[in-house]
């Protein structure tokens, strides 16, 4: 198994981004949520509701309300 440090992984990604000309924060699309399992959708909704009870946003940007 190959071992690498998190910081080394980050460095590789930064190097590849520079080579590819990638910048900003929108070049990887989030999961649309359209095909999530009902179980996963419920879990993400529950996380969002738990976060809301703390007066905070959820720690993710994913979509969980859309249904196929």
């Amino acid at each position: 198994m190959r071992t690498l440090k998190l910081s080394d992984l980050a460095a590789v990604i930064e190097r590849r981004k520079a080579l590819l000309g990638l910048s900003g924060n929108d070049y990887v699309l989030p999961n649309t949520g359209e095909f999530r399992s009902p179980e996963k959708r419920d879990l993400l909704r529950a996380i969002a509701e738990e976060s809301a009870e703390q007066g905070k946003p959820p720690a993710f940007r994913s979509e969980f309300s859309r249904k196929p």
């Binding site: 190959r2 440090k5 590789v12 990604i13 990887v28 996963k40 529950a46 996380i47 720690a59 993710f60």
Partner: protein, 195 residues
């Protein structure tokens, strides 16, 4: 560092729980799914939960509770899931073999997660990136119309990685997509994907 602070903090907590699990003689769980995409893209996708494959589900959940993960008193909360109230991340643990036993275990990545010298032996096992790419391609091709989100994730994982094993990647794509996909198709997608 490209990763958000709370993501790294969560990884460190998870690695601590896994370290304790290993010390008790259990096999270490493997990170899969959206959090693995977040890891391999340098935080470009923000995942809300960490999906793990573990042969020792109950023991792993028990160690997660010891490092601060909790089971909310919410109706419908999954029995195999926990959440961390301060970091606002959930962990979902599924049993079974990684990629139904089709992944080469020798290729699993071991990531040293902590920047702290004293915690330098904290590690997480992560699905091989080739398998993750194959999984995203399979999801992209699973519907009548190619799923743009999964297609994009497959391409970006492919583009942002170094040292991919092309033969293994091609074989895994073909297996996961039932022969519909290949490394050539992924490469073609990458050429048409704008920076």
């Amino acid at each position: 560092m490209t990763f958000r602070h709370e993501f790294v903090e969560a990884l460190t907590l998870l690695a601590t729980a896994i370290d304790r699990l290993k010390a008790r003689g259990y096999s270490p769980p493997i990170l899969v799914g959206g959090a693995a995409v977040e890891l391999y893209t340098g935080g470009q996708v923000t995942s809300g939960d960490f999906d793990f494959v573990s042969a020792d589900q109950a023991e792993f959940l028990s160690e997660l509770e010891r490092v601060g993960f909790e089971r909310p008193k919410r109706a419908g909360w999954l029995t195999r899931s926990l959440w961390h109230p301060r970091l606002r991340f959930a962990v979902q643990v599924v049993s079974g073999a990684l990629m139904d036993g089709n992944a080469d275990a020798a290729r699993i990545r071991i990531v040293e997660v902590s920047a702290d010298q004293e915690e330098s032996d904290l590690t997480l096992r992560v699905i091989p990136i080739e398998d993750l790419i194959a999984d995203r391609m399979a999801q992209a091709l699973a519907t009548n119309v190619i799923r743009e989100d999964m297609q994009n994730q497959a391409v970006r994982l492919y583009q942002l990685a170094e040292g991919l094993d092309s033969d293994y990647l091609d074989r895994r794509i073909r297996t996961e997509t039932g022969g519909e996909g290949s490394l050539q198709i992924l490469s073609d997608w990458a050429k048409s994907c704008a920076p």
